[in-house]
Symmetry: C2
Subunit: 201 residues, 2 copies
């Protein structure tokens, strides 16, 4: 497993592109290998020259999409100074990426998690790095005093990731557009300021 994703020969690229295109319209299960091959203009057998599995193809396509996603995130937080600003940027960039790239969102949120092989794939390694980035920012914020020091950083990480993902679910399942700026602003406001109403300040 854990096959690296290299640009590779034209056939491989055509297969990945064809599959990616098909994933925009149908779910993984209902895409057949012959459909992929036909759409790519190659034969079915070629798929198995470059991918060990139909699932491996899925994982490599996810890897490819996620690499761009990850690069965008890291570019977005580079310029930010405070941890809060960084987390805000991550929430926005994540929602924005999922909204722009439906295939990425659908693969990541709906298709891969049901099989163990995903968690041994290179794609999952990237996702772990992304999650780790968030955790590190949280820890830094707790040390500098930006964030409350009396909480479990892992839990905040899960709340943030969960909020991002669940916000995208409706969009990605029912193909509904969301207002990324509003959603991201709202989520950040809820998580940073809390939802309890106090008369004071």
């Amino acid at each position: 497993m854990n096959t690296r994703v290299k640009p590779g020969p034209p056939g491989k690229i055509k297969i990945m592109n064809a599959f990616s295109r098909l994933m925009e319209v149908k779910d993984f299960q209902s895409i057949t290998t012959s459909e992929i091959a036909g759409n790519a203009g190659v034969t079915e057998g070629l798929i198995y020259k470059y991918f060990t599995d139909k699932k491996d193809l899925l994982h490599q396509v996810l890897h490819q999409h996620f690499a761009a996603f990850q690069a965008g995130i890291e570019a977005g937080i580079q310029e930010k100074q405070t941890c809060i600003e960084k987390l805000k940027a991550i929430v926005f960039a994540s929602l924005d990426s999922y909204a722009r790239n439906r295939v990425l969102a659908r693969i990541l949120l709906l298709e891969v998690r049901n099989s163990l092989s995903y968690f041994e794939s290179g794609a999952y390694a990237m996702v772990k790095t992304y999650a780790r980035t968030i955790l590190d920012i949280i820890r830094e914020g707790m040390e500098t005093g930006e964030l409350r020091p009396d909480m479990d950083p892992f839990l905040l990480q899960k709340v943030i990731l969960g909020a991002i993902e669940h916000t995208c679910l409706k969009q990605v399942i029912f193909d509904k557009k969301i207002d990324v700026a509003a959603a991201s602003g709202g989520i950040v406001d809820i998580i940073f300021n809390g939802v309890k109403h106090h008369g004071c300040h």
Copy 2:
């Protein structure tokens, strides 16, 4: 579609139980119909007397598990007075149910969302009711002044659901136990009080 879940004939019950048992150990994809039949002590063909599909079987089993889950939730919030207490109870009860019933959690969080037929199933209708309950409590809290009136109730709903689900993911994927009380308390604290650090109060 939308086949109702009735107790039904012994064969149907045996099939559902066998499938449920298998789901504790393996994922949906790698459970075969002959395996289900063998385990249930019936023939393969009988499955298709009671279920239109292998997926329909999955949905009906989910429906069954979720009915118990839903009943527990509603019993848990009945006695609570404030909206905040109600939401706390829901978070705790949800995490607790997922922790206790791995099959329910695995089906709901990992297996069903990738196919459209789920969203036409009776199981999904129940899940919508559950989500609706949370939304109604939030709205009530915003009206009574318990919760801030200046936020999008849908977003808070998504943050809560997302936090619950993401907290269960590691547990359900890697079979790790979590401290339900600690996790639920932490999530509630983060969402209600916020994570920003203020010197004041």
